[in-house]
């Protein structure tokens, strides 16, 4: 069964394609009666406009791309919901692209957008991404890009972030107040904006409390779970092992719990842990996991709203350039008493 197109509708009604087109877009040029006839037939024949023709013609696709490192992560999976919530009422389609934390993947995806495949892009960069050329190139083609969470500071586009420095500072201070003196930080990447800010927040808190910040306690994890486990275990077997951990990476939660179990270290007596995470099951872990809970939904929503504003040519005001939505420190069993 072939698809009905505008020409067929026109033929059926003894009208011209242009009249039909106008009627369907509710143009003032067309009489109410004609509009009604046309709409009725379109409905009856189940006419569905060809998206490609429209996009080719009008250079608007009503698609926005969401480019993410991965989706098996509570932050991103929730952020997607926020994005959809913001964008659906405006009639945009959300298309999710996964980089799998690879810079090459990310660059290839953005490259593809240069031909106008999408109207705009929401981007959270991969852990490997250090340069911005691929984003710049896209911007030169006048495809709007809005960063969220993992941003590239060098690129002059709107950024929606959380208060990574402050929340890491708060989490670290909390650990110190609980009596921790040797605090370790586990990051995801040396280059990622969020990881560096969190590390800095952690370091600042240590400094403000005149505590040492040891090189060996500031670690960056790999993509390999086994290796991460070894790394964490080694960290905890050191004669002067840390008594507090700030984990910047949700995935490390399981690793730390397991390592503690194997080494018979008890949380929170022997060691305290706070993890950046939006995992729902944080509460049912034993002990329950203290988290820095990021405003995932709201960040996605804000990012999408900013992009839409841009797409609709409503000039972005200075305050859109950087939106910071605070995270919340949820003290639970792994760091509380």
């Amino acid at each position: 069964m072939k698809n009905v197109n505008i020409r067929e509708l026109a033929r059926e009604l003894n009208l011209s394609p242009s009249t039909v087109s106008k009627a369907l877009r509710d143009s003032y040029e067309i009489s109410a009666a004609t509009k009604e006839r046309i709409r009725a037939l379109a409905e009856k024949l189940n006419y569905i406009p060809n998206a490609y023709a429209g996009s080719l013609r009008g250079r608007k696709s009503k698609n926005i791309a969401v480019v993410l490192p991965e989706v098996a992560d509570s932050f991103f999976s929730i952020a997607i919901n926020g994005i959809e919530a913001a964008v659906k009422p405006k009639g945009y389609h959300v298309i999710i692209y996964l980089t799998h934390e690879s810079y090459a993947g990310e660059a290839a995806i953005l490259k593809d957008f240069q031909s106008g495949r999408v109207d705009g892009v929401l981007l959270s960069v991969s852990r490997e991404t250090t340069t911005a050329a691929h984003v710049q190139e896209l911007l030169e083609k006048e495809v709007p890009v809005v960063f969220f969470d993992r941003v590239l500071e060098a690129v002059p586009v709107p950024k929606i972030v959380t208060d990574d420095f402050e929340s890491a500072y708060r989490a670290t201070t909390h650990l110190i107040e609980q009596g921790c003196r040797r605090i370790a930080y586990l990051g995801l990447s040396e280059s990622l904006s969020i990881c560096n800010r969190r590390r800095e927040g952690c370091e600042q808190a240590l400094e403000d409390h005149s505590l040492p910040c040891l090189r060996r306690n500031m670690l960056t994890c790999s993509t390999d779970a086994t290796q991460n486990f070894r790394m964490v275990k080694k960290l905890l077997q050191h004669p002067e092992r840390p008594d507090g951990i700030i984990a910047s990476v949700e995935k490390l939660t399981a690793t730390v719990y397991q390592a503690c179990q194997q080494l018979a270290l008890h949380m929170p007596e022997d060691i305290r842990l706070v993890c950046f995470s939006n995992l729902e099951i944080a509460t049912i872990l034993q002990p329950s996991l203290s988290t820095v809970t990021q405003p995932a939904f709201d960040m996605g929503k804000a990012a999408a709203e900013t992009l839409v504003k841009w797409l609709e040519k409503r000039t972005l005001t200075a305050k859109d350039v950087r939106i910071v939505i605070p995270s919340e420190l949820m003290v639970r069993g792994s760091s509380g008493k």
Copy 2:
């Protein structure tokens, strides 16, 4: 900066657009020398073909849609990786659409595909979906659809599933062998294929062991977490409360653990639990969670491969009609000793 198109390349080289087009698609008609000149210029000018023009012309988009209930679920987030793995080497793009467990949402998305927006669809239906008209309509437009995991049996298209009946049967039998006599089943929906098969597997196991299958122990959860919590709690407060639970829904893991905690029921002594789940943190829960682990990656991969085969007109053999990949019962602390 405008985008370069084929005409500009042609003008620059004093060639015709069609020559350029052919060269770029490596046609045998074009001399090696010309091909090289064209390719070099395309590279230099960073030529990127307009996807819409190609799709409009050739009625192929090289996009495949993945329509999912949600993405904040370990099964789906892993399945996506399997799909991408299968499809990337074939040059297809994966576009993820979310129904949020809503039939209306699902129908709207599929409707949109009728105009050829995507070449094919991988579908796992929403919990609300009971009818197949929306899928049928799409098939009539000759858009291939392949089901995975949550299938609609009535639609004659390939289905990639796991052995829901058998694995529920195995899990239930396991609970019985551990001494459970009053086993409850928690489902996601009354209509969902997978839920019904799992329930049936559970019931069959009970019957085969001459155990009663009580109405009040076969529950269906809602979308509201608070309500689910109440439901589970009520279940566990019954004078003849169950001593074993098969949970068909990953999200209920936290609910059950919390309810047990509140009611001071200990797993596995007081009650045993097996959950259909691919959550990585199953191992670090206290007690660690026994799971029916679904072959999420392989199911996604198989579904995508089947779809690609169909798209490439390689006739689907009878064995492609239904692929069953077995799940694995992982006995851990919540049901073991």
